[in-house]
């Protein structure tokens, strides 16, 4: 099957000038449409850097290689254009936005994406209906959606709000950065149900995680091991179990 997200020999650094530090060293990876791939790796391997480079965060510089979504270069686009192209990042640390209610924010985002794709805006009643349905699936208190984005939310609520946004914006390709961190087992299950509901033939997903636990709920088609800025090993779902049992050291040693 043709690759949806295709990353080839991607190198990137963080910081500027003499402070710049190379993090990714020729990372290659491809995720076909309809598949869920997991990226696992030790601390400092470059997992979050990869998610920020793909989504265009300021302060990260691509020094080599390419990344395409359905064959189109995404690295040259502004972050908002990448989002409009269907790329969504579920943040490891969702940001608080005081003074901007969740509903206002998400509806603004949705209409901005629609506008840039030449589509009509969603009507307020349609949006509210959709928002309510999704909040119910995720057990989110509708009152919470009237409050400023992430302000005063618990860690679990913040992660659920990321999935709420993902479900309402219906991106084509999703990057989940350590979505499991800070979640108890019940919240993890709820979040995973939301993510699984989005699995579709035309949609791809990259699940970045530190532990195998999340992958019991979101079953990946493939598992990649990221270390020192490169993919050092790729395998099936059982690779995640092996990592959990043996730790990263064994797999790292084997790869060298």
């Amino acid at each position: 099957m043709a690759s949806m997200l295709k990353i080839e020999k991607l190198s990137a650094s963080v910081g500027e000038g003499e402070e710049a530090k190379a993090i990714l060293h020729g990372l290659s990876l491809s995720v076909p449409a309809g598949e869920v791939h997991a990226i696992m790796g030790p601390n400092g391997a470059g997992k979050s850097t990869l998610s920020y480079v793909l989504t265009g965060r300021e302060g990260y510089t691509v020094t080599g290689g390419t990344a395409t979504l359905d064959g189109a270069d995404i690295l040259a686009l502004e972050p908002e254009a990448r989002a409009a192209a269907g790329l969504f990042l579920s943040f490891q640390y969702p940001v608080e936005i005081p003074g901007v209610p969740v509903m206002t924010f998400v509806r603004t985002a949705m209409n901005a994406q629609r506008k840039s794709r030449g589509e009509a805006e969603i009507s307020a009643p349609d949006f509210i209906k959709k928002s309510r349905e999704i909040a119910k699936v995720l057990s989110l208190d509708p009152e919470m959606l009237k409050r400023p984005v992430n302000v005063g939310f618990s860690g679990g609520e913040k992660k659920r709000l990321e999935i709420y946004q993902m479900m309402i914006l219906e991106p084509r390709f999703m990057v989940l950065d350590e979505t499991d961190s800070g979640l108890d087992i019940d919240a993890l299950r709820t979040v995973a149900e939301g993510v699984n509901a989005l699995r579709a033939p035309g949609r791809g997903m990259l699940v970045i995680t530190h532990y195998q636990r999340l992958l019991d709920y979101i079953k990946p088609d493939k598992v990649h091991v990221l270390a020192k800025g490169r993919i050092i090993k790729t395998g099936g779902p059982d690779l995640a179990h092996r990592l959990e049992a043996e730790g990263y050291d064994g797999v790292l040693a084997e790869a060298v």
């Binding site: 608080e96 936005i97 914006l169």
Partner: protein, 408 residues
């Protein structure tokens, strides 16, 4: 022009000589003379004038040629609310007035306390009148809340206007003001006396062009248990100063003085306040928020003066926060607390910085374009300063949002 007149202002500019000529053409009046002399001590205030270092009218107003642009649109005008209009040719008195309001147009010029401390207020008072009587007095008595709207606009060279409000004991006034420019120099002086238990809610909207100078001066005096809430939204002009001088003169008086300023390229907005706690147990709350683009300038000067004996049990807080939205934006701030009493609660905070990069990226990752993301965050940032405007809060927010999404 007589030698004596010419010498009133030292080394006068062309514009100042024109102001002297305008003054000389008005009907002689002892109080008018005193007011013009108070102005003439400094002339148009500028870099060398105490309190005007960052807001230089002397340089900005080089001549008094009428500006090219028409006055701005008025977002605060409402059909149901009586409007008083002040233009270079005077003011109109509406036929129907809300119950509890009396208008008195007086030929005699009224005295103005502390004229030397507010040179452009003194100028407004000295030049008001001509085609219409010099002073418009508005008397508001107790009863149902009174709503009034005032518009100050060109076209013309100079728009000088003065209005004096008296709020009788227990009276309640909701006043909105639109200062829309359209004159080379606009100087408005609005005075308020709040008798015991009177309430004032004042909303000020200011907008002007890059070839216009505007000064809006308010003097507010509050008696026992009087309460005022002021909300300013200023978009600036070549130079624009919104100055409020407030005195708590009897016990238990309360004041909220909030302002938001948004200044684009070539524009300046100056929010200056002076509050005197002249009686015990009075409260002042002040929140000023600003956002400035490349080539714009924001100025905040706030002063609380708390005298040794009279100012006991003062409760006052002053906060100024500014966003420099682009490189090349300028913000100058001077918060001052002059506290001589020992049993007081006074707090102040003053910061200026940039939008949070992590917040901006979060919004952009969801598909919101940079300009819109910046607008959303800035609108949220200034929102607190507009909360006191009551029914007009949404109108002010919409104006701010429109500016942020288009001008910014």
């Amino acid at each position: 022009m007589s030698t004596a007149l010419k010498d009133m202002i030292r080394n006068p500019t062309v514009a100042e000589l024109e102001l002297v000529a305008r003054y000389a053409a008005l009907k002689a009046d002892v109080r008018r003379e005193r007011l013009f002399e108070a102005f003439a001590q400094t002339g148009l205030p500028g870099r060398r004038t105490e309190g005007w270092r960052w807001t230089d009218f002397k340089t900005a107003v080089s001549s008094l040629d009428a500006p090219k642009a028409a006055p701005a649109r008025d977002p605060l005008v409402r059909d149901a609310v009586t409007t008083l209009r002040f233009t270079p040719s005077g003011y109109g008195v509406p036929k129907a007035l809300p119950a509890g309001v009396k208008l008195l147009a007086k030929d005699e010029v009224q005295a103005m306390g502390g004229a030397e401390a507010a040179p452009l207020g003194a100028l407004a008072a000295a030049l008001s009148g001509g085609k219409t009587p010099a002073t418009l007095l508005v008397d508001v008595s107790a009863g149902a809340p009174v709503h009034l709207h005032m518009v100050f606009e060109g076209p013309g060279a100079i728009n000088a206007a003065r209005v004096v409000f008296l709020l009788r004991p227990g009276a309640e006034l909701h006043l909105s003001e639109s200062h829309l420019g359209g004159a080379a120099l606009s100087a408005a002086l609005v005075e308020f006396t709040l008798n015991k238990g009177a309430r004032l809610n004042r909303t000020v909207y200011q907008i002007g062009g890059a070839d216009e100078a505007q000064a809006v001066t308010a003097l507010i005096e509050q008696d026992a248990s009087a309460a005022s809430v002021q909300t300013v939204l200023a978009f600036g002009a070549k130079v624009a100063r919104i100055e409020t001088r407030l005195v708590h003169r009897e016990t238990g008086s309360k004041a909220t003085l909030n302002a938001a300023y948004l200044a684009g390229a070539g524009l300046q907005a100056d929010i200056t306040t002076h509050v005197r706690h002249g009686a015990p147990s009075c409260i002042t709350r002040q929140v000023t928020k600003g956002a400035v683009l490349d080539g714009g300038r924001g100025v905040f000067q706030g002063k609380f003066h708390v005298p040794r004996t009279a100012g006991q049990q003062t409760d006052a807080s002053m906060q100024h926060k500014a966003l420099l939205l682009e490189e090349g934006a300028e913000v100058f701030a001077k918060p001052e607390l002059e506290i001589l009493a020992d049993d007081v609660q006074c707090a102040h905070g003053n910061t200026s910085g940039q939008l949070d990069a992590a917040q901006l990226f979060y919004l952009r990752q969801r598909g919101i374009a940079l300009v819109q993301a910046r607008a959303l965050l800035t609108e949220a940032f200034i929102a607190e300063a507009l909360e006191g405007a009551g029914a007009l809060e949404d109108v002010l927010r919409a104006e701010a949002s429109g500016w942020l999404n288009h001008a910014a």
